[in-house]
């Protein structure tokens, strides 16, 4: 299994849609074959259409708010006394997280496809919030599927979705989290694929959804590359790009421009949700060597039992609380281009505490997992090592959890 150079990773799949010959594909009910084929054709056309690219860039700049800033975390670097730590503040994007890129592109596609309705899944609520915002912006009716447990724990984002006029459909099946929301959203699409466009909220699902999402979030690393060059004059010799991984959409977007670099120069580190300390439940299929399985239309490493039943997962971070992961990250793991590890709930909370004490940023619980890894490794690294963390979400949505766990909020 090998990565190719100079070809975007999202395009490095075979004819059947598999990356590395085994990750991804299209394990879907017959009814969805045609809508997915149509979407694939339309997307291939649009991504080579200059007018469409112009439109995308226009909305990325004027609606999403690109570029998001790239800042040094001087106090944190000084405090840890090792590597120089920077943050890419993707949380500055409209709505407060990277999910706006995928949502905007999906709504643009839905318009081109002549669809009037758009549906999506959400875990932390950011994918849903952004889709509902973009839908409103582009005049589409929006329905969001969200696990009942997540509705409770991410209320600020639920309020935002409703404010944008979206219908939020609570999902009560299974563990009542993201995995069930994605299933229910797919079921809805099976029944309404003639009138409705579906947006999968991360780089997961049938092949085309992985591609559209990755194509959208790739904006993050296009900006970052320019920002690194302007900060350091050239690409430094030792960089570590640290990103949290649930489905893996922000990590792919953060890394895509840097995959061709040697890993000795630019190391890619993905941080999964290790769940509560001393608990066997986690949402870290890559870190813990989960077996290859099929979930939501794609083959990828999945937390599951011997029989192929999908495991319950647990994480303080709703956005990472998912038993599967993008086929693209499985490919990056098996080709050893990226390294994956996990942080516990407590690790993420401690990282949140330290980062918000020293710096004027407010990362949500998802990127707090990435900060936990940065904090762990920075002191052991040389002063000329550059760590960049993707601060891909804002902690406003975590208000209630932070209050409960830390007693106060910033």
């Amino acid at each position: 299994m090998k990565l190719k150079k100079k070809i975007p990773l999202i395009d490095q799949h075979n004819k059947s849609g598999f990356w590395g010959g085994k990750f991804g594909g299209n394990f879907i009910p017959e009814t969805l074959k045609k809508p997915i084929e149509d979407l694939t054709e339309l997307f291939e056309k649009l991504r080579h259409d200059k007018k469409f690219l112009k439109e995308r860039d226009y909305y990325f700049k004027n609606y999403v708010g690109s570029p998001t800033s790239f800042n040094k975390l001087q106090n944190l670097s000084d405090h840890l006394g090792g590597a120089q730590i920077y943050a890419k503040m993707v949380s500055e994007a409209n709505g407060g997280a990277h999910k706006i890129y995928n949502a905007t592109v999906h709504c643009l596609i839905a318009k081109k496809a002549g669809k009037k309705y758009v549906v999506g899944d959400t875990g932390a609520g950011y994918a849903g919030k952004m889709l509902s915002m973009a839908a409103k912006k582009f005049g589409l009716k929006c329905k969001i599927f969200m696990g009942a447990k997540d509705i409770k724990r991410q209320k600020p984002n639920v309020d935002a979705m409703k404010k944008s006029g979206a219908e939020v459909v609570p999902v009560y099946s299974g563990s009542q989290t993201l995995v069930d929301a994605v299933s229910e959203c797919m079921r809805y699409w099976v029944s309404n694929c003639d009138s409705t466009h579906m947006c999968v909220g991360s780089t997961v699902g049938p092949n085309i959804f992985v591609k559209i999402c990755g194509w959208s979030t790739a904006q993050i690393s296009r900006e970052l590359k320019i920002q690194i060059r302007s900060e350091f004059k050239k690409i430094p010799k030792k960089i570590k790009l640290i990103n949290c991984v649930g489905g893996g959409s922000s990590a792919y977007g953060f890394w895509s421009e840097f995959i061709d670099y040697d890993k000795k120069q630019i190391e890619l580190i993905g941080v999964e949700a290790g769940g509560p300390k001393n608990s066997k439940l986690h949402a870290a299929p890559l870190t813990n060597g989960a077996k290859l399985g099929i979930l939501h239309g794609a083959a990828a490493y999945v937390c599951q039992n011997d029989e192929g039943q999908i495991n319950d997962t647990a994480s303080i971070s709703a956005g990472l609380d998912y038993p599967g992961v993008s086929p693209i990250h499985c490919f990056l793991k098996d080709t050893k281009r990226a390294r994956y590890t996990s942080a516990t709930d407590e690790g993420a909370l401690n990282a949140y505490k330290l980062v918000t004490k020293l710096e004027k940023i407010n990362p949500s619980l998802e990127p707090s997992h990435a900060f936990a890894e940065a904090i762990k490794i920075a002191p052991k690294l040389s002063k000329d090592t550059i760590i960049i963390v993707n601060s891909c979400g804002d902690a406003k949505k975590d208000r209630d959890i932070l209050k409960e766990r830390l007693g106060k909020i910033n």
């Binding site: 059947s16 594909g25 299209n26 394990f27 879907i28 009910p29 017959e30 009814t31 969805l32 074959k33 045609k34 809508p35 099946s173 299974g174 995995v179 299933s183 797919m186 079921r187 099976v190 029944s191 309404n192 694929c193 003639d194 077996k291 399985g293 099929i294 979930l295 939501h296 239309g297 999945v302 599951q304 011997d306 029989e307 192929g308 039943q309 999908i310």
Partner: protein, 265 residues
């Protein structure tokens, strides 16, 4: 002739469509689900048996409830096989079609799964999320062992794709009546469904085409022109209701199957 083909032939000589039932193995217990099968087999021509998965992306509420109930009661793949085996001991000629999601087969190993299916007497397999042409390899492996792999076609299947699927299909093809998960309310007129059905049938008159999704006591008679009709969610719903009312699901489900059979007699 395969027992699936024989079942259709028999129904045809009786000038009626074959009645196919779907129940979930282990719903609500291993023992009860076997009793239900044995009892409804008196009126059903072919028994579809679901092997429950906890992330069923194409099933509606009724079948989801049945699946979760079976899983909660600890049903494992080996139990599903043993249910089939015990059922076949008594009803050797009654065709059994196993239906489920690919991940469970994949974890078991394709060959291993098919071999055990053969051993316990499974006649056909439906894998909901393994569409054509991705299922070509798997379908060939089934055929080699004398198991029918059942292709699904839907209202969204294009004519050219339909031709290819029918060409590569085995004894039976499953037409999904409408854009829906299982158990949806029939939202397309029976006339329209039968029109599409005829188009598929005309591609190859030798294939047995069954219609499923949205078929209940109310709608079944209107579709009796088809080779076969599948009723699943209505039966799963009856099991749920029986449990709620503390009644015997075996009697209640059997009564429904008898009524369905009478409507198409």
């Amino acid at each position: 002739m395969s027992s699936i083909n024989l079942a259709f032939k028999k129904a045809k000589t009786e000038k009626r469509p074959a009645l196919l039932t779907y129940t979930v193995a282990g719903d609500n217990t291993k023992k009860k689900s076997l009793e239900i099968l044995k009892s409804i087999a008196k009126y059903a021509d072919i028994c579809e048996i679901g092997f429950p998965h906890n992330t069923p992306i194409a099933d509606g509420g009724q079948i989801q409830s049945s699946s979760y109930r079976a899983l909660k009661n600890g049903i494992k793949i080996k139990d599903v096989f043993s249910i089939v085996k015990d059922f076949k001991k008594l009803k050797q000629s009654k065709p059994v079609i196993l239906m489920g999601y690919y991940n469970m087969i994949y974890q078991y190993g394709d060959n291993n799964f098919i071999n055990i299916c053969k051993k316990v007497g499974v006649d056909g397999l439906i894998v909901v999320d393994l569409p054509y042409p991705e299922n070509k390899e798997f379908s060939k492996k089934c055929k080699k062992k004398g198991i029918s792999f059942i292709q699904l076609v839907s209202p969204t299947t294009s004519p050219s794709r339909m031709k290819r699927i029918i060409k590569d299909s085995h004894d039976m093809v499953y037409y999904i009546s409408m854009l829906s998960t299982t158990g949806g309310k029939l939202k397309v007129s029976p006339k329209k469904i039968l029109e599409r059905y005829s188009k598929i049938k005309n591609l190859n008159k030798n294939k047995n085409i069954v219609i499923g999704f949205g078929i209940t006591e109310k709608t079944i008679a209107s579709l009796r022109k088809a080779d076969g009709l599948v009723v699943g969610s209505a039966l799963c719903k009856e099991i749920s209701n029986s449990i709620k009312k503390r009644q015997n699901p075996v009697t209640n489900v059997t009564n429904i199957v008898l009524k369905l059979r009478n409507k198409i007699a």
